[in-house]
C-alpha cells in the first residue's frame, strides 16, 4: 500500500487542526500537559501512546466531550470553541469511536440520519440520506447496503457506517479511536484503503492507536504521547518502530519475546467435542477438540466474539457446557456444584480472565484483598473462622516486590492502579499459585508496553517450568510471538492449528475470517 507519500501541501494552507497549549486534569491526574499539534489538511496524522498516555482525553477535548483547562483550538485557521459534540460536528469534525455508537436494530440509513433529521417527517430526510449515501459510496468506495439492519452486518461494515455517518454530517476531519481493535487483518487492510482514498479526496484524518505497524503503514506524521505530554511529532518516513516505541515508553524496549523452543511433556488439558452456549442459549462453541501439553503455550487466535471467551469461561468454571474436558486425565465437571471457579482452582487451574476490571479484580477492594480473590478459602489466609488479613498483607507485599507492582502500596484500591499494574496483580496472584494449567485471556489488553514485556516474560517462565498454558488473545502479534502452537477459532469452530514459525498473519487472518486452507463447508458462512 502506498502510504507514506502524503500530499505535500503543508506550506500553503492553514492547518486543518491546530491545538495550542491544551492542558486538562482530572483531580490529581494531569491527563494532558500543554499539548500543541498541527495537522495539515489532506494528511493522516497518527497519535500513538500507551494506555493512559492521554490520547483519548485529547481527542475528547477536540470532540467537545471534555473542556480543556487551558489552551486553544484552531480549526482551518480559525479559533474555535468546542463546548459539545454538536459544536464539533458543526466545525466539521467527525469521530469514529472504538465501541460503535449505532442502534443495532435500525437500518444503515436510519442510523445515518439519526440526530441529523430535518423537519417533522422522517421520510424526506431518509430520501435525502439515501441520495447522498450513494454519492459518498461512489466518491470514497464506501459501499454499504443502506437498508441492511446493523446487527446483521459484520464489524468491518459497521465501522464503515460510522465513517459514513461522519461524512454525511460533512466532516472534513475524521478522528478514529483504535479503529482496528475489532477487525481481522484483512478488514484492517480494507479500512486503510478507505482512509487512503479519503486522504486523496482532501480529508484530514487523525488515527489514534497503540499499534506501531499501523502508524508506519498509513500515517504521514505521527505524534507520540507519554504521561499526558506530547513527547515528539515526527514525519513517519523519518522514523522507525523502535524509535517510536522508545519515545512511548521512555526507554528501550524489546518488541519481540525471547523465546526458547518448547519442550512439551504429557497432555495436561484435553478437550473433546465441547459445546458451550452463552446466557441467551446461543451456542458459541460448537464442538471443538483441543489439547494443551505441559510446557507449551497454545494460543487461540480469532476475532473477538467467535467463541474464545466462552471457551475460556467454561474452563475457568464461569459457565457450563457439554462434551468432555480432561485435566491430567481426569474429567472436569462441566455442570453441577463443582463446576465453578472454586472447583477449578482446587483442580490446579489458574485463570487470568479477559476482563480484569469486571472479573479478575474487585476494583473497590484494596490490592491485598484482591490478592486473595478466588483463593480466599486458602487455609494460609485463614485463622479460625476469621480471615488472616495480616498473612494476606504480607503475601501481597511479597508479590508487589516480586512483580514490581507500582505504587508499592497494598492498601491502595485496585481502581487506583494503572491498567498494567492491575494486570500484574492478577497475573501475580494466578502464576504464584503454581497451577498445572494457566488460562490467560487478553493478557496485555490495555497494558502499557513496559508491563507487556514483563507479563510476557512471566508467561514464558511459567511455560519453562513445565506448565500448560492456554492463551486467548485478539492481538495476532501477541499470539504469534508467545505461542508454541496456534489454533484459530471462527464461529465456534477451530478452523485449524498452525505452528507460529510456519505461518504468517495473512494465513491466520484468512482462517480468522472463516476461510480455511482446505475447501471447507464453513467457508460459506458469512
Amino acid at each position: 500500500m502506498s502510504a507514506s507519500s502524503g500530499p505535500e501541501r503543508h506550506t500553503s494552507a492553514a492547518p486543518a487542526i491546530e491545538l495550542r497549549g491544551i492542558s486538562k486534569s482530572f483531580g490529581p491526574v494531569q491527563a494532558n500537559k500543554d499539548i500543541s499539534i498541527r495537522v495539515m489538511p489532506g494528511t493522516i496524522h497518527g497519535i500513538i501512546g500507551e494506555n493512559g498516555a492521554g490520547k483519548s482525553t485529547l481527542m475528547s477535548i477536540l470532540y467537545g466531550f471534555y473542556k480543556a483547562d487551558k489552551g486553544e483550538i484552531f480549526i482551518a485557521g480559525r479559533k474555535t470553541e468546542i463546548p459539545d459534540s454538536q459544536a464539533a460536528i458543526a466545525a466539521g469534525i467527525g469521530m469514529v469511536f472504538q465501541h460503535f455508537k449505532l442502534v443495532e436494530n435500525f437500518t444503515v440509513l436510519e442510523n445515518i440520519v439519526l440526530g441529523a433529521e430535518e423537519g417533522w417527517l422522517l421520510r424526506p430526510s431518509l430520501a435525502k440520506a439515501r441520495r447522498s449515501l450513494l454519492d459518498l459510496a461512489s466518491e470514497y468506495g464506501l459501499n454499504v447496503d443502506p437498508d441492511a439492519v446493523i446487527e446483521d452486518l459484520g464489524v468491518g461494515m459497521q465501522q464503515r457506517v460510522e465513517i459514513l455517518k461522519a461524512l454525511y454530517r460533512q466532516a472534513d476531519i475524521l478522528i478514529l479511536d483504535e479503529p482496528t481493535g475489532v477487525l481481522t487483518p484483512s478488514e484492517a487492510d480494507q479500512l486503510f484503503r478507505i482512509l487512503d482514498r479519503l486522504r486523496a479526496e482532501g480529508k484530514t484524518i487523525v488515527l489514534i492507536t497503540h499499534k506501531l505497524r499501523e502508524i508506519m503503514d498509513i500515517t504521514d506524521t505521527v505524534s507520540v504521547m507519554r504521561r499526558g505530554e506530547m513527547t515528539a511529532t515526527v514525519r513517519t518516513s523519518e522514523t522507525s518502530p523502535a524509535e517510536l516505541a522508545e519515545l512511548m515508553v521512555g526507554r528501550k524496549v524489546l518488541l519481540r519475546v525471547d523465546k526458547t523452543p518448547a519442550r512439551p511433556g504429557a497432555t495436561v488439558l484435553e478437550i473433546r467435542g465441547l459445546h458451550v452456549s452463552d446466557e441467551k442459549g446461543v451456542e458459541r462453541v460448537k464442538g471443538i477438540d483441543l489439547t494443551v501439553r505441559a510446557g507449551e503455550i497454545v494460543g487461540i487466535a480469532g476475532v473477538a466474539g467467535n467463541g474464545q471467551s466462552e471457551l475460556l469461561e467454561l474452563l475457568g468454571g464461569m459457565r457450563g457446557g457439554k462434551g468432555a474436558v480432561l485435566l491430567n486425565g481426569a474429567p472436569l465437571d462441566l455442570a453441577g456444584p463443582h463446576a465453578d471457579g472454586r472447583g477449578r482452582r482446587n483442580r490446579g487451574i489458574a485463570h487470568v480472565p479477559e476482563d480484569r476490571q469486571r472479573e479478575g479484580l474487585i476494583m473497590d477492594f484494596h490490592a491485598w484483598e484482591n490478592v486473595a480473590f478466588g483463593y480466599h478459602h486458602d487455609p494460609a489466609y485463614r485463622s479460625g473462622v476469621l480471615m488472616n488479613n495480616a498473612a494476606l498483607r504480607a503475601d501481597t507485599d511479597a508479590k508487589i516486590e516480586k512483580f514490581d507492582i507500582r505504587p508499592a502500596n497494598g492498601w491502595q484500591t485496585a481502581r487506583n492502579f494503572s491498567g498494567g499494574n492491575q494486570q500484574k496483580i492478577v497475573v501475580a496472584r494466578e502464576i504464584e499459585r503454581n497451577p498445572d494449567l494457566l488460562l490467560i485471556g487478553q493478557p496485555t489488553r490495555g497494558v502499557d508496553i513496559g508491563a507487556i514485556e514483563f507479563i510476557h516474560k512471566q508467561i514464558m517462565a511459567l511455560r519453562d517450568q513445565g506448565k500448560a498454558i492456554l492463551l486467548v488473545s485478539v492481538e495476532l502479534e501477541e499470539i504469534l510471538s508467545l505461542s508454541d502452537r496456534v489454533a484459530v477459532m471462527f464461529d465456534g469452530h477451530i478452523m485449524g492449528e498452525r505452528l507460529p514459525g510456519e505461518t504468517d498473519e495473512k494465513e491466520l487472518g484468512l482462517l480468522m475470517a472463516g476461510v480455511s486452507g482446505q475447501s471447507d463447508p464453513l467457508a460459506a458462512v458469512n
Binding site: 483531580g27 490529581p28 491526574v29 464461569m318 469486571r358 479478575g360 474487585i362 478466588g374 480471615m387
Partner: protein, 364 residues
C-alpha cells in the same frame, strides 16, 4: 491517589450535610412563624437533657440499629432490602410466641430464645423474596415492599383471630408473663448507684444491638463469608469468576438481613410493649434505610446514625408536644436529614474534593 483524606470522607461530609439539613429546617421553622433556636433547644433538652429523654432516644436508637444493620448487610451484597418493616413485624410474632407459650424461669433464657425466634421469623420473611430474586429474577425491591404489606395483613389476621385473648376488643396479644420482663436501663443501672429514669423504655436490648453491631462488623470485614458478600456486591461477574455462588450469597445475605430486622422485636415488643400490638414497628424498618445510608453501611456508622435518628425521633416528639410546630414538620426535618446525608451526598462531596485538591496542589 485518594481524592481526600479519610477523615474528611467519614466525618466532614456527614457533618456538613447535617448542618445544611439543619439550616434548611431552621428556614422552614422560621417560615411557619416559630423560633428555630427555641425549637433546637427544646429538641436537645427533650432528647438529651434528662435520663428520661436519653432513655427514649436510646430506645429508638436500638430499633434503628437493628434495622439499619439489616439494610447495611444486604446492601453490601448490593441487595436493597426495603422489607425491614415487614421482617420486624414478623420478628414480633416470633418473640410473642416464644414469650407467651413457653414458661421461662428467667428473662435471660427468654431473651436468648426470643432473639432466636425473632431472627428466625424475620429471616424466613426475607428468604422468600431472596429466593424469588436469585432463582426467578423478581426484583428484590419490589418483592420486599410487597412483603411489608403481606406481613401487616398476616399480623392483623394472627392478632385478631389467633392471639387475641378471649373477650378482648383490642387486636393485640395477651400481656407477656412477668418472667420474661427485660430489665430496663433503670433496673440495670440502679445497682451501680446511677439513677436512670424509671419511665423510659430503653432496656437490655440496647446491649444486644451493640453486640450485633460488633458481630456484623466482624462478619463483613473479617470473615470469608463477608468477603464473598462484599465481592458479590461489587461485581457479580467478578464473583462468578472467583467461584462465589450468586444464589448462595443472595440467600445468605438476605437471611442475615431479615434476621437482624426481625431482632428489633426484642426491643419494641419484648422490652417495651410486653405484648404484641398492631403496627408495633412504627416505621422503624424504613428509618433503617436512612440509617444505613447515612452510616455508609458500616456498623459503626450505623450506630452513630441510629443515635442521631433516635435523637430526632425523641426530640421531634417533644417538639410536637410542647410547641405549635405540627408533627408533620418533624417528618420534614427527618426527611431533610435523609435527603442531605443520603441522596445529596455528592453535592457536598464534589466541592469538598475540589477544595482538598487545591490545598494539596498549593502545598506541593
Amino acid at each position: 491517589m485518594e481524592k481526600m483524606p479519610r477523615w474528611a470522607d467519614v466525618v466532614l461530609i456527614p457533618l456538613i450535610s447535617l448542618i445544611l439539613a439543619a439550616a434548611i429546617s431552621a428556614v422552614v421553622i422560621l417560615a411557619i412563624g416559630e423560633d428555630p433556636v427555641a425549637a433546637v433547644r427544646l429538641m436537645v433538652d427533650g432528647a438529651l437533657g434528662s435520663t428520661y429523654g436519653w432513655g427514649y432516644t436510646l430506645y429508638y436508637a436500638t430499633n434503628f440499629m437493628f434495622t439499619g444493620l439489616a439494610v447495611a448487610v444486604a446492601f453490601h451484597a448490593r441487595l436493597f432490602n426495603i422489607g425491614g418493616e415487614g421482617q420486624a413485624m414478623l420478628g414480633g410474632l416470633g418473640v410473642a410466641l416464644v414469650a407467651l407459650y413457653v414458661p421461662w424461669p428467667h428473662w435471660s433464657f427468654a431473651l436468648i430464645f426470643a432473639v432466636a425466634g425473632a431472627a428466625l421469623f424475620g429471616a424466613v420473611w426475607a428468604a422468600v423474596p431472596a429466593y424469588l430474586q436469585a432463582r426467578r429474577g423478581s426484583h428484590i425491591v419490589i418483592t420486599t415492599i410487597m412483603f411489608n404489606f403481606i406481613a401487616a395483613a398476616v399480623l392483623n389476621y394472627v392478632l385478631v383471630n389467633l392471639l387475641r385473648p378471649a373477650g378482648s376488643m383490642d387486636p393485640a396479644s395477651a400481656r407477656f408473663p412477668e418472667a420474661v420482663h427485660l430489665p430496663t436501663l433503670h433496673e440495670m443501672l440502679a445497682p451501680f448507684g446511677i439513677a436512670f429514669s424509671k419511665a423510659a423504655p430503653a432496656n437490655v436490648s440496647l446491649l444486644v444491638a451493640l453486640l450485633a453491631c460488633l458481630l456484623v462488623w466482624l462478619l463483613i470485614w473479617r470473615t470469608r463469608l463477608g468477603y464473598e458478600i462484599r465481592a458479590y456486591g461489587h461485581s457479580e461477574t467478578g464473583a462468578l469468576y472467583a467461584g462465589i455462588s450468586p444464589f448462595k450469597i443472595t440467600m445468605i445475605a438476605m437471611i442475615i438481613s431479615g434476621a437482624l430486622a426481625g431482632m428489633m422485636a426484642i426491643n419494641n415488643v419484648m422490652g417495651e410493649a410486653e405484648r404484641l400490638v398492631l403496627n408495633a414497628t412504627e416505621g422503624a424498618g424504613f428509618i433503617g434505610i436512612a440509617v444505613a445510608l447515612m452510616g455508609r453501611s458500616h456498623p459503626f456508622g450505623v450506630f452513630l446514625a441510629a443515635i442521631l435518628f433516635g435523637f430526632l425521633y425523641q426530640g421531634g416528639a417533644e417538639l410536637a408536644l410542647w410547641t405549635s410546630i405540627p408533627r408533620e414538620l418533624i417528618v420534614v426535618i427527618q426527611a431533610l436529614v435523609i435527603l442531605f446525608t443520603g441522596a445529596l451526598d455528592n453535592m457536598v462531596r464534589m466541592p469538598l474534593e475540589a477544595l482538598f485538591l487545591r490545598l494539596r496542589k498549593r502545598r506541593a
